[in-house]
């Protein structure tokens, strides 16, 4: 009995089956038990009663056997079907129907009525006269006040410094336990246009508050996956002082537009293409990925990029009208997980 033991220990399922199958009739012959109808029959003659499923077999080993056999059969059939389809495609050549597009969550996104139509006049007027109008009309240029929550640890401090090298004309200040509501009027009087506060919890940065200053909206983000410069593999040398280009991807809904404009208003208007630096805010499934790269065109169609700067992911938690006032301010959009996250195919940004 060592041999069946060996084979069952190995990967020889079929041999075990055959052994089991051959053992069964022997046992049946030996015991002469009439009640072997429901037990494992020889593979070729499977005469189960209708409505029988593998899960009804009480014996775990035999049940497992039957299941693996069924699974292998399924796999074979699937492979055969694929090969057949491939042959048919090759046979048809150009006349073959186009390949079916696989379903992804982004493909299956629920229709959102707030997606902005580029020809919409009302939305265009709304955007032309909102709080960012002075930036987009080139009346003001951005000046950023960069700070953290109180008593920051090393990672947060370094992230703050690196972020200030990415965003031109941004100044880092140490937060000496001052209240934001007191900082904001001071910033406004010194002509700052935006306030960035990086919140820290247990020595890692985990939140970002972005407030547009004169009276503009305040966005509160959750920050995750923060990678400082030294943690990025195969990175390029430190970024230069050139004004980077901005890429804003996939901000389609009205809320997305507002947030996109908010990010755009952080950077000066005219990028210096000599610097070949680009900051990207890519929105996918309500997560905004921030990357900072330097690119070089090797030929007409080939580009090489090296990642510089910090990298992090943001998720919008709330957008508040007016400058930072979490208690008494009016919110334009608040993320409510139990109401808004019920469908896997619905996104808000």
């Amino acid at each position: 009995m060592a041999r069946p033991g060996e084979k069952s220990g190995g990967s020889g399922k079929k041999s075990l089956k055959r052994k089991a199958a051959t053992e069964e009739p022997q046992e049946a012959a030996v015991t002469g038990d009439g009640a072997t109808e429901n037990e494992v029959q020889p593979p070729k003659a499977a005469a189960f009663p209708p409505g029988f499923s593998i899960s009804e077999i009480k014996n775990k080993q035999r049940r497992h056997l039957m299941f693996t056999r069924w699974k292998q059969q399924q796999r074979k059939e699937k492979l055969a079907a694929k090969k057949k389809l491939k042959k048919e495609r090759e046979a048809l050549g150009d006349k073959a129907p186009p390949k079916p597009v696989p379903k992804t969550i982004d493909n299956q996104r629920v229709y959102d009525e707030t997606i902005v139509d580029p020809n919409d006049e009302e939305v265009a007027y709304d955007e032309a006269t909102d709080e960012f109008a002075s930036y987009f009309n080139r009346q003001t240029s951005p000046k950023i006040h960069n700070t953290t929550s109180d008593r920051p640890h090393g990672r947060t401090v370094r992230l703050c410094e690196q972020l200030s090298t990415v965003i031109p004309d941004s100044h880092v200040y140490y937060r000496r336990g001052l209240a934001l509501k007191k900082i904001i009027p001071q910033c406004i009087s010194r002509d700052f246009t935006d306030l960035i506060v990086i919140n820290e919890d247990r020595k890692t940065p985990n939140g970002l508050i972005l407030s547009h200053l004169p009276n503009g909206p305040t966005a509160h983000f959750k920050m995750s996956s923060v990678r400082l410069r030294k943690e990025i593999k195969r990175r390029g040398k430190d970024p230069t002082e050139h004004v980077p280009e901005i890429i804003l991807n996939n901000f389609t809904t009205r809320l997305g537009h507002s947030i996109g404009r908010m990010f755009a208003s952080l950077f000066p208007h005219d990028p210096q293409f000599i610097g070949r630096q680009v900051a990207t805010f890519h929105n996918q499934r309500d997560y905004i990925f921030f990357r900072f790269h330097r690119y070089i065109f090797k030929s007409e169609k080939k580009v090489g990029i090296q990642e510089l700067g910090p990298r992090f992911t943001l998720k919008l938690r709330s957008l508040q009208k007016g400058t930072f006032d979490s208690k008494y301010g009016e919110y334009e959009w608040v993320h409510k997980p139990r109401e808004m996250d019920t469908s896997r195919r619905k996104f808000h940004l």
Binding site: T114, E122, Y125, Y328, E330, Y331
Partner: protein, 385 residues
């Protein structure tokens, strides 16, 4: 056709871009109406109220201190009235016996003669209510009684025919358990029908009931809801409860007899700016900064009925109180009329051709009638403006 359809709109919403939107929930359509033909942020609507004569006229209070008259029958703005005095936007607009009552943020309450012809005339009455007014509300049962309240401005009830002093001036509650003065911030006021009581909701998430008939000037009942300022309030048709909304978009139904929470309504994502319940049906219209108008059903079962995306931030709304929500007498009749009209028009054309040279003026009239009927057939059906 837009003009005739305007009177069947169920909800009228005022936006921050100066557009008055009429929403028809049966046909699922929203239309924009502007005075100047273009949206203008200077004309941001801050107050809406029904004008004289049932629900045929709407008074629109704009940020440039002009009150515009809008006719729902015609779907056009018909006149305007400049109401100077004080600073800030309109916090309350009301209409009583041919007079217009306005109240602005800095506390100037004025009663104007409702004359479209006179661009600006002196007000009939002026009252100084106190700075920082957040709401002025007129008692629907007694049009001459108004109530005002605001930030650090306690609730006061004024009789416009009486003296210059308020009829009822509320007193602040006692100092709290730390012996500190409790701040006042009345955000919305409602008069209770059938009695003299008033209900207010505050920016410090309190709901209070005042009774001018009782000897105490302090609130008779006080409850709290949530942690965020309550911005809007409306009475429910049952008569025992109010629905309040806060800056986080949370709506709650609170029973003001027992002072307990009856239930909440889900769906809003932004601050609630306007709330109104239908006087008889269990429907609630809510609008807010998230640019969506929602109609909820308050009971059996509680839930969302309609949701309409309107592209600008919504400031205030007016819900039509009429009963024939579903029945729009004109609309179902016209499609029925169309098939028999075809034969009728054929006959008409035949008779016209015969009598072409004889009766010119009659021909023009019948042609115009036929053309309007044909225009009505080809009505565009779109779901969004």
């Amino acid at each position: 056709m837009a003009a005739s359809a305007a009177r069947w709109n169920h909800v009228w919403v005022g936006t921050e871009t100066g557009i008055l939107k009429g929403v028809n929930l049966q046909r699922k359509r929203a239309e924009n109406f502007t005075a100047a033909g273009q949206p203008r942020r200077e004309e941001a609507v801050s107050a809406l109220c029904w004008g004289a004569g049932g629900e045929t006229q709407i008074l629109v209070g704009c940020a440039d201190r002009v009150v515009r008259h809008f006719s729902t029958e015609d779907g056009t703005f018909q006149g305007q009235r400049h109401c100077p005095g004080g600073e800030g936007a309109f916090r309350g607009l009301a209409q009583a016996d041919g007079t217009l009552i306005t109240c602005v943020d800095s506390g100037i309450l004025r009663v104007w003669r409702d004359n479209d012809k006179e661009a600006s005339s002196d007000p009939l009455l002026e009252l100084r209510v106190g700075p920082g007014v957040c709401r002025m509300r007129q008692d629907p049962a007694r049009p001459r009684i108004v109530a005002t309240g605001g930030k650090e401005n306690a609730l006061k009830v004024w009789d416009l025919q009486g003296s210059e002093e308020p009829v009822f001036r509320a007193k602040n509650v006692r100092n709290d358990w730390l012996d500190l003065r409790v701040p006042i911030w009345d955000q919305d006021i409602q008069f209770l029908p059938g009695s003299q009581k008033l209900i207010t909701c505050t920016g410090y998430h309190q709901v209070r009931v005042y009774d001018p008939a009782s000897p105490q000037r302090r609130p008779v009942l006080e409850t709290t809801y949530g942690e965020y300022p309550l911005t809007a309030m409306t009475l429910t048709p049952g008569g025992n409860s109010v629905i309040v909304g806060n800056t986080h978009g949370q709506l709650a139904e609170i029973d003001f007899r027992q002072g307990r929470l009856l239930g909440c309504l889900k769906g809003l994502a932004g601050s609630v700016r306007g709330l109104q319940c239908h006087p008889s049906k269990p429907l609630l219209a809510s609008c807010g900064l998230d640019r969506v108008l929602r109609i909820h059903r308050i009971r059996n079962p509680r839930g969302l009925e309609h949701k309409v995306y309107l592209k600008s931030r919504l400031n205030c709304l007016l819900l039509s109180g009429r009963d024939n929500w579903e029945d729009e007498p004109q609309e179902p009749e016209e499609p029925n009329k169309v098939p028999p009209e075809d034969t009728e028009t054929d006959e008409l054309w035949a008779s016209l051709e015969a009598a072409a040279k004889r009766k010119r003026p009659d021909l023009d009239q019948t042609q115009r009638a036929v053309q309007t009927k044909q225009r009505k057939k080809k009505r565009p059906r779109s779901t969004s403006p």
